[in-house]
């Protein structure tokens, strides 16, 4: 399914088919309110970018999707993040975070392949789900590595340790690892900030190719990257969602002055 470029003259972003919706979501680190009443749709088969200056809460929002904050004590969620079509509230304490993480995958800022072989890295998500059959694993791993545009480079050295790969290759390995479990949403936390420009270009090209198959939410501090890669953009400032809309609208004619100040570089 190829999506045609959508511009502001057509459908409003909120009426696009949605994969998830953030509804009145607030997040507290102890007493400190890090996110204030965020309401935002996550449109299916689109790339949504979260941009904003340091400390605005974009990574906090991203990590709430797959309940990463549950790993550390003292955090509190208010509001909902609803996953469609089954209307599950991901933040509900009755929903097992492990199940949430089985439906959503994450790629981290600094490539973090496990100190295992390339094969085992990609296989781990499947092993955790109880997949044991060699044939199934082999197929899934080849598929995932192809999706990450890494297969040709590593197919003859799958048993080598992951750290023998370059930084850009390691990040693509992490993408393959995330894809192997067929997630419904793929979360990217500043995936290219630790990479050189050529590796960055590879990753951006992958993100663009993958959106037909999986909904993507990407946090980036690089505005040009957001402009290149995303269909929709959310601008955040100090824990609030300031503006949300089509990327080209936000970048060409933002509605809020705060957005305009950030885009034009009055602060960063």
């Amino acid at each position: 399914m190829v999506t045609s470029p959508i511009t502001r003259s057509q459908i409003s972003p909120t009426s696009l088919p949605q994969k998830a919706k953030v509804q009145d979501f607030s997040f507290y680190y102890g007493d400190f309110c890090a996110l204030k009443n965020i309401t935002m749709p996550l449109c299916e088969h689109r790339v949504t970018a979260l941009i904003g200056p340091s400390g605005c809460g974009k990574s906090t929002l991203l990590r709430a999707f797959n309940r990463m904050h549950d790993l550390y004590p003292g955090n509190r969620y208010e509001g909902e993040i609803v996953l469609y079509p089954d209307n599950t509230n991901l933040l509900d304490h009755r929903v097992d975070p492990i199940e949430v993480r089985m439906r959503l995958s994450m790629v981290f800022q600094k490539p973090n392949p496990f100190p295992k072989s390339i094969y085992e890295n990609v296989a781990y998500g499947l092993r955790v789900r109880g997949v044991k059959k060699r044939a199934l694993l082999d197929d899934a791993i080849e598929e995932a590595l192809t999706q990450a545009a890494l297969w040709e480079e590593v197919k003859h050295r799958l048993r080598h340790m992951a750290f023998t790969l370059s930084g850009g290759q390691q990040q693509r390995l992490c993408i393959a690892r995330a894809l192997a479990t067929q997630p419904e949403i793929l979360l990217f936390d500043e995936p290219t900030s630790a990479l050189d420009p050529i590796a960055t270009a590879h990753i951006e090209e992958r993100i663009h190719a993958l959106k037909d198959q999986v909904t993507i939410l990407i946090v980036t501090h690089n505005m040009q990257q957001a402009a290149r890669v995303s269909d929709l953009t959310a601008y955040m400032y100090l824990g609030e969602l300031v503006e949300f809309g089509y990327t080209d609208e936000i970048f060409i004619k933002p509605k809020e002055k705060r957005t305009e100040d950030y885009i034009t570089g009055r602060f960063s």
Binding site: M68, L71, R101, N112, P115, Y124, V128, R129
Partner: protein, 308 residues
């Protein structure tokens, strides 16, 4: 004129202070050399004294009233068996405790209490553990003066070392590894079993081996539980010819260990036995140094593939 006087005064002061500095530097070097030299001389003297006893028969002979025929067979076999028990008790218990502290323990007063308790255990003199073993293990629990009791007692000494080593090793794993595993939908125990334990294994193994190299030289607790000093027989071997090819009678056997044999020979007035003591000491010190060296080599070897 007066400026020159001040200059000379200051220069003299500087020279004086610098000379003091150099004297202290020499003193420090001297002290260092004396210390290292003392121990080296002692070790060399020990080797020299014991050299003529270090023949193959030394390792295969039992102790005897004739110094030249006495050997350490029962001692080193006893040490090996006791170490076996110590390993199987202290390693699982120590690693499990370390894992609990780093992965599961909530911020609760119980955790603080347990931490303080373990720090305290490390500072208890080893002979007090011997008293604990004598009163509780030997008599109250009725385990007798056996290899099992000895192994259990030494485990108490090794336990704090293993716990600390496990905790340090687990703490050195970067959060990025953990988060990557959780993000793929792994449960807590899956993360521990698939990632935390394998990546901390080099540090854990080093700690276990270092702990055991300490335990192998411990004399006081073993004397206290009543290991006999003249053992001219071996405990029954752990294996048999019939099913299930293994038994545990040896755990109950009386025994002796290397440090006790050394103690026994050192305490004899005859100079001939002192040679035996020297030879046995050479063996024991070599065993200890080998274990230390092995643990370091092992850690370096296993760390080769752990890059993050």
């Amino acid at each position: 004129m007066s400026l020159q006087k001040i200059d000379t005064k200051i220069r003299a002061d500087i020279t004086r202070r610098k000379r003091l500095d150099q004297w202290f530097s020499l003193l420090g070097l001297f002290a260092l050399i004396i210390c290292v030299l003392t121990i080296v001389i002692l070790l060399v003297d020990m080797c020299y004294d014991g050299w003529e006893r270090l023949r193959p028969e030394f390792f295969s002979n039992f102790p005897s009233r004739h110094a030249s025929r006495a050997g350490i067979l029962s001692a080193w076999v006893g040490s090996a068996l006791v170490m076996l028990v110590t390993f199987f008790v202290s390693a699982p218990l120590g690693v499990a405790t370390g894992v609990w502290f780093e992965e599961y323990a909530p911020r609760h007063w119980i955790r603080h209490l347990l931490e303080i308790n373990i720090n305290n255990l490390a500072g208890i003199p080893s002979i007090v553990y011997g008293l604990l073993a004598l009163g509780l293990f030997v008599h109250t629990f009725g385990l007798g003066q056996s290899i099992f009791t000895a192994g259990l007692t030494l485990s108490l000494l090794v336990l704090p070392v293993v716990i600390v080593a496990t905790r340090e090793a687990i703490r050195s794993i970067p959060t990025a590894m953990r988060e990557g595993a959780y993000a793929l939908g792994a449960s807590h125990w899956q993360v521990v079993w698939d990632h935390v334990l394998p990546y901390s294994m080099p540090g854990i193994l080093t700690g276990i081996i270092l702990g055991m190299s300490r335990a192998i030289g411990e004399t006081a607790p073993i004397i206290t539980i009543g290991a006999l000093t003249f053992i001219a027989f071996l405990p029954p071997a752990p294996w048999t010819d019939t099913w299930p090819y293994m038994h545990f009678e040896w755990l109950n056997a009386p025994f002796t260990v290397m440090p006790i044999q050394i103690f026994n020979w050192t305490s004899r007035p005859e100079a001939a036995f002192q040679k035996n003591a020297a030879a046995a000491s050479v063996v024991l010190v070599t065993m200890t140094l080998l274990m230390n060296g092995f643990s370091i080599w092992l850690r370096n070897r296993l760390r080769k593939n752990l890059k993050w």
